[in-house]
Subunit: 323 residues, 2 copies
């Protein structure tokens, strides 16, 4: 399947844009820590650390892309507001970014969104526009809002400004862990993965970037094999943030730059989430546990490596954890 | 009650010893992050960050003092092993430090210790010596082990090497948050508090150090009022790490240097522990939530301040959180 000669000129963003994003959003986001937790890698013989975006504003990396997009708008664009469709963390992140800039946000959310994610948007003063839980219904509703308000669409991942914002995570990882050998990133729509790939393969191409996704949402794995964007065949993975196909902007970057995509079982995701509680004292949402699940399910690949797993978020709709 | 003219020459440790401890233990401990969580202070109007010793080796700050003590021993002393009595986190920390140096550890633990803390010691290859749950029974058993083995006692807090090790937390806080105005530290036996006081009041005396303890274990508060070490009157606070009276080495430091001691209710501790789960995505043990409980129960004192709360540990014996 392998792809030689990546054509960087065709990518929607670049290292300088990621570096500019870092400057733009510095005061709006948290430089989250990368924390080692030896016990989780000892039996595999690898050194494991976690980039903790569950400690980011809104408890997810989405704050980065949303802030970069909203603060990239001209004043005239900003005055007409922003709109997005999102099942969750991007929704709250865009509501927060809009509030920080003092503009309106219209947030289209599927009616079956996690309660904690609906509540997060409401707590920022935005009443979500609910729609049916299909990609087509979301897109249609967002288009409708754009037509009636003139708001700018800030897509959750298929947006160059959003991808550049997410890529700032990778700049921090390379500074925090200069000897990292492998970075593992969860992949849904691919914004986080694409931004990470552009940053790392520009600055330090020897670092391996591995994507991890649920077996039940293995569209990115199949897209890499077929060479085109494949759709998600089922929508019941516990990793609710990853049930999304790649986008036209994220796919070419991922296809040409990623080292490998690994799929993980639902059982492995659940176990990884519990291990992060027991052995890392962190509350992580299912999508955020997928990289650790990949290490543990595919352990033979990871012996003797210095690995950073990106914990993408902590918004877990689980009453046993929050009483 | 206030105390002028602290007599630094009478204290058992000093800033240079804390700095030497930092060098000695650097490769043995984690420099834990200090992470801001705005939501927890917004309604009070303060800026709150948390020094996360729940992410330390053994999930508690005790790794610092134990490593400093064990690696301060001469080879001849080390060869005879170490002994301690502890209800918990110091026990596992000493077992780990001894294992790192390759020497024997004898760990005397009360028979009613938290399961998770007994299991932690066993996982390090040490079978705890169980005793009755009174200070006298613990001391007697530890003396017995010393007599028969020649092992060196590493007291959980009344030990200059342990106090210096715990003080390294404060060096990190001052570097990580150079504009901190108030540091809040839980107080049990006082090792962490005494080390923090020596470091901070030497380097930057304008930073306020506030100690927090349960109302049900308010011995430090009463000791400060009476000017002598008072005993703990009940042993049923949920904050199991703080049910200990001050020691002969920690009391004079605390008495002369601490700015204030605040007591908190059991309800406030429980609520703070839950808030750290919901709004900081962290699993914290009851003792580690006591500083946040102090901010929230005594909120009028903290408006407009930049505060760091020390989260002392994450070993929570709670099946709903680790299932």
């Amino acid at each position: 399947m392998h792809r030689t000669f990546p054509d960087w000129t065709t990518f929607c963003t670049s290292l300088p844009q990621i570096q500019a994003a870092e400057t733009r959003i510095r005061s709006l986001i948290i430089e989250t820590p990368t924390i080692p937790f030896a016990a989780l890698g000892d039996d595999i013989g690898c050194s494991l650390a976690f980039k903790c975006e569950n400690f980011q504003h809104g408890f997810a990396f989405k704050a980065r892309g949303a802030c970069n997009a909203v603060f990239s708008l001209t004043d005239a664009e900003a005055a007409r507001g922003v709109v997005t469709h999102s099942s969750g963390n991007h929704a709250a992140a865009l509501a927060r970014a809009a509030k920080l800039r003092g503009i309106l946000a219209h947030i289209v959310m599927p009616e079956n969104s996690a309660r904690i994610k609906l509540a997060a948007v409401r707590s920022l003063g935005v009443e979500p526009v609910l729609c049916k839980s299909t990609p087509a219904a979301r897109e249609a509703m967002a288009q409708d809002v754009m037509r009636t308000t003139g708001a700018t669409l800030i897509h959750p991942f298929n947006d160059a400004r959003v991808i550049a914002g997410q890529g700032t995570i990778a700049l921090e990882i390379l500074r925090q862990c200069p000897d990292v050998e492998t970075i593992i990133v969860p992949v849904g729509g691919g914004g986080l993965l694409a931004g990470t790939l552009i940053a790392v393969k520009s600055l330090k191409p020897s670092v391996r970037i591995i994507a991890a996704e649920p077996e039940w949402a293995d569209d990115a794995f199949r897209s890499l094999q077929s060479g085109q964007i494949e759709s998600v065949l089922r929508t019941d993975s516990i990793a609710d943030g990853l049930r999304t196909p790649l986008g036209s902007l994220t796919f070419p970057i991922i296809h040409q730059l990623v080292d490998e995509i690994l799929c993980v079982s639902e059982a492995a995701i659940n176990e990884a989430m519990q291990q992060l509680g027991t052995h890392a004292k962190m509350i992580v949402e299912p999508s955020g546990a997928v990289p650790l699940a990949a290490v543990r399910q595919h352990r033979d690949r990871f012996a003797n490596q210095r690995i950073v797993c990106v914990v993408s978020g902590g918004n877990r709709d689980d009453p046993t954890l929050t009483v």
